[in-house]
Symmetry: C2
DNA sequence: CTGAAAGCGCTTACAG
DNA sequence: CTGAAAGCGCTTACAG
């Protein structure tokens, strides 16, 4: 039997000190205390020191509501997770991103407000509400699309924001991005160097910008390298669709020894690149079931590394990014923006190729 | 080149309406408007309707800071993730929990504040800060320990809280819990019914309450059923330690045909139960590497189901809980508590046994 | 049923 | 360098 103030059992909750209390103890006005506390000019060094000591001693902390109301910041940034709730928890990506953002924010005692939104409408509604209620100072925008209505909404609201993704398609909002096209070239060149001439790609959601950028780069590099066959299947990132795509790809007959022109759909790839770790793992399982040896008959690669890739057998070759750092970089830039500084786009590090046991020379190229 | 208010390019951000604006348009006092908006008695139905229509038309939303400052709620609940940032993103548990909490909160337009804290000290500091700054109305407390200093901190602060975990060891705070002991009995009885007489457990962090409760139940049911051998290895939930524990367990020689008393450490289990999905998957990989057939030579089970369990080969038999519902139940109770209602402990559904391909009769029991 | 007023705890011009 | 005062946008007793 507890009531909300926790006082049911007689717990005495001491009133939290305010600047008025500090002012009284210090024999100053509230204004002077405020200046001292905020490092503003207008008080002597000795006064400032005394006020800061008193504040610490009395356990004073700024009331965030009062601060926000008097025009300063709310000290809160917002992040909407653009996934139906049921799909979250599958990909480690978002949790790592959150951890990275958090890390960068902690030093500035800024909080992170989180919301799960199943679609873009719900997401736009969240931004409108947050901004109207003055709940956040700014937001992070993830999962950039080729045609992305959110950009306009955020710009119209005047809501400070940093886009995580790109390059391009993010209006006048600054973005933090990685060069997915260059990474794709690196991956396909690696597979081609091993001798693969038939490479498939199991891609994520079609509308997403990075899906498109990777897709274009995949087509280009396949052409440049003169691969005999390349093909893409799009999915929703789920393990199910990853498995299904794999089954379809592996059901095709292997390439004939004479490498003449064959119908695209009827050629079986010797290597598959997946757009996330979950699908790559699911694909590996499907290969096992179908008696397709990895990496003997099929090389498998995952875009975005995680423990998942390490713990299965064989461990998966993957494209590894420091996602925590990615989130931290975005957070630093949003804080800069809120400080009134100009923020330009920032290109994060290239993903690294982590070679493990799931890729090898094809048995029959 | 953008400044924080987004106005650099001349974007006109219209001033958000306040209750004063509504009062003026309606020819009422601010007080009357406030009563109308909040469903308080003191205004006629027709006035209330007119005010609500005006508010909608003008796009009014309550300024959360003003509301919080004048003594009402902040409309924000807090959750600290008690893991070093690098370990997050591995277990789907927290993301699902967050999604569940979010779902329940959305209907009440309550926000969720998130922080990552590497240890209990950092966590306690977060609670103190949040409460001192009046950032949250209440918090969720997860990863309950047998000796848990956080309980006292939260009680002393008078910070409304709901504990996710139990039963017991949560002081006077209400808790939402599942019966891990009963679930453990169910699991071991299932394995024993298959014919397993040598069962090992790869447990999570030693100090956690549910680790201890499961451990005690494991010992009890092993004794009750008269298993020939049972043993536990504790870990930190990581894939690495799960793999290592598995290697150690499988390195022991199989039980001799004569079932006389054998030294405990030297007996190889025919079934292993893991405290999370990640370790179960890692363990399955180790078995493959060591040429131990799953489920022929070794049955494997995971506590807490996830896609991970479904996508590997063989798919893992698991103990499945609806973690989103778990989070939602906790959120509902915290909201109740904040409404001033008495909240009692709530026992959530028993986990379900989901039987897949990783468990079978032992080849040599 | 309605209005006028005080107050929440800060910040920030404005005087001295 | 310091003090007195207004104001942010709400809520809530207190009079009428």
């Amino acid at each position: 039997m507890l009531t909300a103030d926790g006082s049911a059992e007689g717990a005495r909750v001491t009133k939290r000190p305010t600047i008025a209390d500090i002012a009284q103890r210090a024999g100053l006005s509230k204004g002077a205390v405020s200046y001292a506390l905020n490092g503003q000019p207008g008080v002597s060094e000795s006064t400032r020191r005394r006020v800061l000591e008193l504040a610490t001693e009395m356990g004073w902390r700024p009331n965030s509501a009062a601060r926000a109301l008097s025009g300063a910041r709310t000290g809160t940034l917002g992040l909407v997770l653009p996934r139906p709730a049921t799909l979250l928890g599958v990909e480690p990506f978002f949790m790592k991103l959150i951890a990275g953002i958090e890390n960068a924010l902690a030093a500035r005692s800024t909080a992170l407000l989180l919301q799960v939104a199943p679609d873009h409408d719900a997401e736009a509604a969240a931004y409108r509400r947050w901004w109207a209620e003055r709940r956040v100072d700014g937001i992070f925008l993830v999962d950039l699309r080729v045609e992305d209505g959110r950009i306009r909404v955020v710009e119209e609201l005047g809501l400070p924001a940093v886009v995580i993704g790109g390059p391009g398609h993010h209006g006048r909002l600054p973005s933090v991005w990685t060069d997915d096209a260059a990474a794709m070239v690196m991956v396909v060149e690696y597979l081609a160097a091993l001798g693969h001439r038939h490479i498939a790609r199991v891609a994520g959601l079609p509308g997403l910008l990075h899906t498109e950028l990777r897709g274009r780069a995949f087509g280009d590099v396949a052409a440049t390298l003169g691969l005999e066959w390349s093909g893409t299947v799009t999915t929703d990132y789920s393990a199910d669709q990853g498995a299904q795509a794999t089954r379809r790809l592996l059901s095709a007959s292997p390439a004939p020894q004479s490498s003449g022109p064959t119908p695209r759909a009827a050629t079986r790839p010797t290597a598959i690149l997946y757009d996330n770790d979950v699908m790559a793992v699911a694909g590996t399982s499907v290969a096992h079931e179908m008696g397709v040896d990895v990496p003997g008959d099929l090389s498998i690669m995952a875009w975005d590394d995680s423990v998942l890739c390490e713990i299965i057998h064989p461990p998966l070759t993957a494209l590894s990014r420091d996602i925590m750092a990615y989130g931290a970089h975005a957070a630093e830039r949003l804080l800069e923006l809120l400080d009134g500084n100009a923020v330009t786009d920032f290109q994060d590090d290239m993903p690294r190729l982590v070679i493990r046991g799931s890729t090898a020379r094809p048995r029959s190229p």
